[in-house]
Symmetry: D2
Subunit: 395 residues, 4 copies
Amino acid sequence: MHSADRVAFAERFALVRDASLALTRSLNAEDQCVQAMPDASPTKWHLAHTSWFFETLVLQPYARGYRCFDARFALLFNSYYESLGPRHPRPLRGLLTRPTLAEVHAYRAAVDLAMADLLRECPAQDFALAAPLIELGLQHEQQHQELMLTDILHLFSLNPLLPAVFDTPAARRSTPPAAGWIEHHGGDVAIGHAGAGFAFDNETPRHTVRLLPFELANRLVTNGEYQRFIDDGGYAHAALWLSDGWAAVQAHGWHSPLHWLPDGREFTLRGAQPRDSEEPVRHLSFFEAAAYAEWAGARLPTEFEWEAAVTGASPPAQAFGLAWQWTRSSYDPYPRFRPAAGAVSEYNGKFMVGQIVLRGSSVATPAGHARATYRNFFPPAARWQFSGLRLARDL
Amino acid sequence: MHSADRVAFAERFALVRDASLALTRSLNAEDQCVQAMPDASPTKWHLAHTSWFFETLVLQPYARGYRCFDARFALLFNSYYESLGPRHPRPLRGLLTRPTLAEVHAYRAAVDLAMADLLRECPAQDFALAAPLIELGLQHEQQHQELMLTDILHLFSLNPLLPAVFDTPAARRSTPPAAGWIEHHGGDVAIGHAGAGFAFDNETPRHTVRLLPFELANRLVTNGEYQRFIDDGGYAHAALWLSDGWAAVQAHGWHSPLHWLPDGREFTLRGAQPRDSEEPVRHLSFFEAAAYAEWAGARLPTEFEWEAAVTGASPPAQAFGLAWQWTRSSYDPYPRFRPAAGAVSEYNGKFMVGQIVLRGSSVATPAGHARATYRNFFPPAARWQFSGLRLARDL
Amino acid sequence: MHSADRVAFAERFALVRDASLALTRSLNAEDQCVQAMPDASPTKWHLAHTSWFFETLVLQPYARGYRCFDARFALLFNSYYESLGPRHPRPLRGLLTRPTLAEVHAYRAAVDLAMADLLRECPAQDFALAAPLIELGLQHEQQHQELMLTDILHLFSLNPLLPAVFDTPAARRSTPPAAGWIEHHGGDVAIGHAGAGFAFDNETPRHTVRLLPFELANRLVTNGEYQRFIDDGGYAHAALWLSDGWAAVQAHGWHSPLHWLPDGREFTLRGAQPRDSEEPVRHLSFFEAAAYAEWAGARLPTEFEWEAAVTGASPPAQAFGLAWQWTRSSYDPYPRFRPAAGAVSEYNGKFMVGQIVLRGSSVATPAGHARATYRNFFPPAARWQFSGLRLARDL
Amino acid sequence: MHSADRVAFAERFALVRDASLALTRSLNAEDQCVQAMPDASPTKWHLAHTSWFFETLVLQPYARGYRCFDARFALLFNSYYESLGPRHPRPLRGLLTRPTLAEVHAYRAAVDLAMADLLRECPAQDFALAAPLIELGLQHEQQHQELMLTDILHLFSLNPLLPAVFDTPAARRSTPPAAGWIEHHGGDVAIGHAGAGFAFDNETPRHTVRLLPFELANRLVTNGEYQRFIDDGGYAHAALWLSDGWAAVQAHGWHSPLHWLPDGREFTLRGAQPRDSEEPVRHLSFFEAAAYAEWAGARLPTEFEWEAAVTGASPPAQAFGLAWQWTRSSYDPYPRFRPAAGAVSEYNGKFMVGQIVLRGSSVATPAGHARATYRNFFPPAARWQFSGLRLARDL
């Protein structure tokens, strides 16, 4: 890497790291400490964990003379890396009132300082080894930026005062396109990442998949359309649902997307807001997405169909930036998938069971983080993400 | 159907139905009533449910003048058909001391008698409609024959007296082949059922899948091989496990396959028996199968690789009749999958999430029930089936 | 003990033991095997456990040359005696399809035979030691006779077929007395058992309790009276309830006594029957009894008030034989209480926390088993016993 | 009340209220927000709830023109008063990152200001009605001061960093007296509160209880003595335990008092500290206290024995200020107990089931809050209070 590249890399490093803190600007220390469910983490924990990632995987092996900020943080802020030692149990992350938010800020600052030094001064041969891990760390940080928003939204939704994360008005949306279908003739398509840009290991290797002809909706299902599913008794009609989905509806009393309020509004990062019938429906589980598709006489696309259409000649509208889109694909490894080497081998591969692939990106995804081969994944009952759907049909 | 065919069909009907009762010969009424976990059902319930299937889907629509044996049985013996009305909750099946076993036997006899009449006398145009449902009912009955054995084995395994289901000695096994690999060159392969014979809807439609070159173990992993995995600390080494698998190991304290006894024996349908190191290992979860494969430097085959190899020119040994084989494929619908019409649309399709495909068949599978396109499926933590594994590797 | 006394003792032994079997006459083997909740035990288990009690505490120490019927039964049929070795877990009693009911009957017969020999031939000095344990065993058997009925009633209540334990009509009830109050002037009263007759250790020692003047209802609260409590919104009015009681109402959705059917009938040992408004209300938890009393402007009597009134000059009607009566007394030890010696020290004392005392006896209590000093006890949320209430007021 | 009395009352009001804040001085906002178990509440919630008590029960009825600080707080800070409207669920108190700690401080300040006005200016006839509620509010605040300490200790104990609430060294303890017994001749004793000073309703009415002669240990059981119980296998010897206690030992893996650290230290309000063998043992459940007494060949005193001894001619040492002392008395109502009138009728009476009485007071009890008739109560498995024991024996 040329020194000019290093400068650019360092600038990007600083931008991504600062973006995490920017998201917390309106949150007080209490907001950033509490955990409302085991699936979600406190903001403070996200801030510390992403720093621990750089400290553990980059600074400790590659920064000469780096002294660990606090040896006890390895226990507290390791998320799930078995190879990196014992961990504080995930459901107890919210009990960590200490270290304080101020101490976590100091931790971030110390890590950032040491990273700036390393980005500037690290010998070339070390840098060649460290750079992919730094890049992974930045992508990782961006993933946590989205989780910080979904997690705080979930926490605030459980507070009767319905606080807002952001007090600025939402950007005005453009009108969605009229509903329509985009045809794809099927055939052999190349799926997965190849080439120079960054991709997670789970997007590789690129391989051929045989598709049958299909068509994909040109836009996402809207709140208004989903409301008609509800009005038509969608949540009360077992035949529309997968068996586990119907069990979830009954066990949890689901009757609308998460964060829809009884008064017709929805709970958002800007607090309770009127629900826009033209906005994409969000905060659906896979089960709800699949039931809606059944009701609509359609189906969910496979992740291969989605990728083929989005990278094809006539990509559908609303592919990125609005809502993650549940697919009809379980999160299985691609043929000849190999996890990345080292501790980060645990990054993706060990979660390849019991999850469903989502494609696209959402309103909460950081700019520059989305791409057509990206495989997001969550369990089929998860609803606290910005998750919606797009329809598909056989041709 | 010619009348000669009808006679043959009726004979087969009687054979399959009698085979269910034959499995219960050594079981008393108490054995057949109790339910040890929600996943398993009492023998008596299996006997009644399979009869309810014929009564509801065949006799009521097609047997002129048929009078329902007991109208209350619809509630008690419907398994999961939402479209056929309310059901007694699955976890409470073991509380049904009434109807008694004798009454269930009478129910079976009445259904069999009415079915014999129908098979003989039903008008041709009705028979054309009924025949596929009767065939499905027989295949369904055979599936429950295997479940009767796995469920009673599980129940008996929890009794400190360790009772035996069968008191006859097991058939002598032939020595398994020496371990080896069978190559497959990959390429486009046709997957799924087509043609005249019976298949479940989930095996269709037949479609093309592109495979990369691979090799498949010529036989199943044995008890002796699995013991070496245990001896090598397999159950204590997180890096071998999927994340959910490792959580299951810790939550349940797994340290060997289900039904392995601390004294070195295993619990079988013939009671506690010496464990044969050359027999295929059984009663593994998907998680254990995947961890073993990782430890062995291999992987599980996909269901497509399995089917391609078994239907290929050099099929591997031990494909059927020993143990169901976990694959690395989630149970997703085939392209353009359509559930069967009517109530039986609920037979397979609604379970296509959260499950893993197993291929082959086991010691408990009735003769004639196995085929290369068969897709068995269970959740990844299920261990009470006769489930083992076969290794695969990339070429 | 004179030989004539021994003959009488042996006759009583046989009568009590036969009475247990008589209760099972209409039950098939399936009915007697199943366990519907951890609090309840299968009929077969009761039959075996009461035999194990005699075998372990009487035959093994005192019957010369007695050979244990089956050494494995010690594990299976020990209820809760820590000093007598390990036990099969209580919630798994219903999995014991083996030993079969027939084998348990044989066990009972063998124990009875050996007990008959012992009662006839045991040397006097041994008999002096054994007799109190035999007496305890008979009282214990009678306690289980009542539990056999409450447990089977509970099991059958969960069967949609609503089977009957007894097919004979219930005895006609005499009209209850008009509601009224019986005054007691209070003062020092002697509470607890003393003298020659049998009593459990928890009824001793007899001691003085100072009472304030009070009055006790002359009869039990009836179904009709309790219906008025329901009609008046008793189950929806938090102020009537103890805090834990209100939590139980909401957690379990209680809205009537257990075994009241939605159609206005009640489920009884004789199946679903019309509900008699003049019968004592039964199958109440302590929480419901206390809420009713609050609603009625009264309270529950303490166990001391109950005993003083029943042993006083004007005992109230309906003291015994209709329903156990919840008192406002926690089940604490009497002053200077000492558990019986030996293994039977675990009989009562170790349960003296978290339970509420009930006094009187019920329709299911064997004849001769009731007395004024008897302290029955159950947790405050228990409803499957024949438990009702009687009101008290301060004077 | 004379104006001089009012001044004194106002001064005491300010002192008690300030004492609550003083306890939080070393805690940051995060520490004060988090809830580690449903039984415990966040510090911030305690601060707000005690203010809500005065606002709701005193200011709203008696302070002319008082304007509610925030109408939404009634939902958030009502603890358990069903008559005062709906409540935020107890287990979710820790999710209330808003209102912030600063807002709660403002709430306290506003309530204190309005209370100061009321204490100064309220008309005499109103003051006569308000004064008992103010007094109750202060006693209530003091109870929460103790809970603030036990709850934060519990929260901090779950943080691997083992933070300290107080950084000042503990006061030096005087050596406990040598172990000895104090005799009481029994007989009729007067139990409960009467007279002018404050007492909770559950301490009344004063009534006569007949005691048998007994003796009471002159001091509490020490850490050193309890260690000998552990060393002697106390936690492994079922015969020492009540049945529910033994079940708790096994379910929770108890093997020492709560807050004893594996390294021989104990976790305290001052962080991990050496364990003083002469200090009273604390953080015991009732079950452990009772098992220790059994092991020691003694028993727990009844609450009546405790009160009689402490109010007698030769009161035992260490009655107050060290550890609450489990008694062998269930928390039942005294004869003719009547709850206080109005909303505060829910203060004590509705908890009178399933709890055990503790007597004395602890290191965490505010000065002036203890008295001989005080009835503290907790469920028998509770260990997070400063709870120890004193032995008793029959004479």
